[in-house]
């Protein structure tokens, strides 16, 4: 139980916030096709761009962190959608061919 809680994204989010860091929480809310991480997976991001957890196994974390910094600045949540990489070649995407929706919200 102890080890579980130590590596837990939501516990990390709480700990970071208590340290006075500004924090956003990203959550996978919908998936289509072979999405790498299940619905309910979390990524926590602080205002310096540090992050822990996973919403896609690495494919779109960079983009989510970028959006999260804006969410922290604006104080408003937003919904992100990521599809396959080759459909939107200039943008990040999921090489596995899946599609995911990620909700990013500030933790106030």
């Amino acid at each position: 139980m102890q080890t579980l809680m130590q590596t837990d994204t939501l516990v990390t989010a709480e700990a970071w916030r208590k340290e006075g860091r500004k924090v956003a929480l990203a959550t996978v809310v919908e998936t289509w096709g072979s999405a790498p991480r299940p619905v309910g997976s979390h990524l926590v991001i602080d205002e310096a761009g540090n992050f822990e957890g996973s919403v896609s196994g690495g494919c779109v974390e960079g983009a989510v962190v970028g959006e999260a910094l804006e969410v922290i600045g604006a104080g408003e949540p937003r919904m992100l959608e990521f599809g396959v990489a080759d459909e939107t070649a200039w943008r990040v995407g999921l090489s596995c061919g899946g599609k995911i929706k990620v909700f990013v919200e500030p933790v106030s």
């Binding site: 809680m5 837990d8 939501l10 709480e14 809310v29 309910g40 949540p77 500030p106 933790v107 106030s108």
Partner: protein, 231 residues
């Protein structure tokens, strides 16, 4: 999400209590529904389904997201016996938290259980401090009524998702007599799997451990833990 909400959710998780965070993804507004309050919630039916499946997900309205938090399944073994020596590592491989309780210090040694959480005390004492719950399975493996009977009763009262007891049909018959005398209803006693484990002709301790683990997984996946109304 408000920070207090996150703290409240983490508090439920640390205490092994199920809870659901209901988030309106348009406004960002959220509320936390503890399992004990779920029946009185406007979304009661949906929440009850989610607590059973343990799955987070978006509602049909496309804007309300449910973050479902149920505790990880745990196996408590009563008896630091041969079967536990095989069952504990197998259960850990299957993703369960494991605890072994046996007051007999000759059995409960770290040498015999190098990686398990091992508590060399009476189940009565241990379970008072760390109660069983609906997300916990209990396997009583000592053959000794002085050690096994109390945790079996506690497991029934807590609504453990799986309860198994080692012993032949004859041994179990005597056990049923004792527990009936202690005031446990016949319908409740039927929840105890005895003889323990799927009937695969298991002979060695390791084979019995496989049979127990398979029976436990069937109870977990075919009739999910949170289905219990008692916890």
């Amino acid at each position: 999400m408000r920070g207090e909400l996150l703290e409240a959710l983490n508090e439920e998780r640390a205490a092994r209590r199920a809870a659901i965070l209901v988030t309106d993804t348009l406004s960002g507004e959220a509320r936390l529904v503890k399992k004990s309050d779920a029946a009185g919630d406007p979304l009661a039916e949906e929440l009850s389904r989610r607590l059973r499946s343990g799955r987070s997900g978006m509602l049909e309205d496309g804007r309300t997201f449910l973050t479902v938090s149920v505790p990880p399944a745990r196996l408590v073994m009563i008896g630091a016996v041969h079967i536990s020596q095989a069952l504990a590592p197998m259960a850990r491989l299957a993703g369960l938290d494991t605890t072994i309780i046996d007051p007999r210090t000759a059995f409960a040694t770290e040498e015999r259980f190098p990686e398990a959480e091992l508590i060399a005390e009476w189940p009565q004492e241990v379970l008072k401090a760390r109660p069983l719950d609906a997300y916990t399975a209990l396997a009583a493996l000592t053959h000794d009524p002085k050690i096994d009977d109390y945790p079996l009763q506690a497991a029934l009262a807590a609504g453990c998702f799986y309860i198994g007891a080692l012993g032949s049909r004859k041994t179990h018959g005597k056990r049923v007599e004792r527990l009936t005398e202690a005031g446990i209803a016949a319908g409740e006693l039927e929840r105890i799997h005895a003889p323990i484990g799927l009937d695969i002709g298991a002979a060695s301790p390791a084979e019995i451990a496989v049979a127990v683990l398979a029976e436990l997984i069937a109870a977990l996946r075919q009739a999910p833990a949170a289905a219990s109304e008692t916890a």
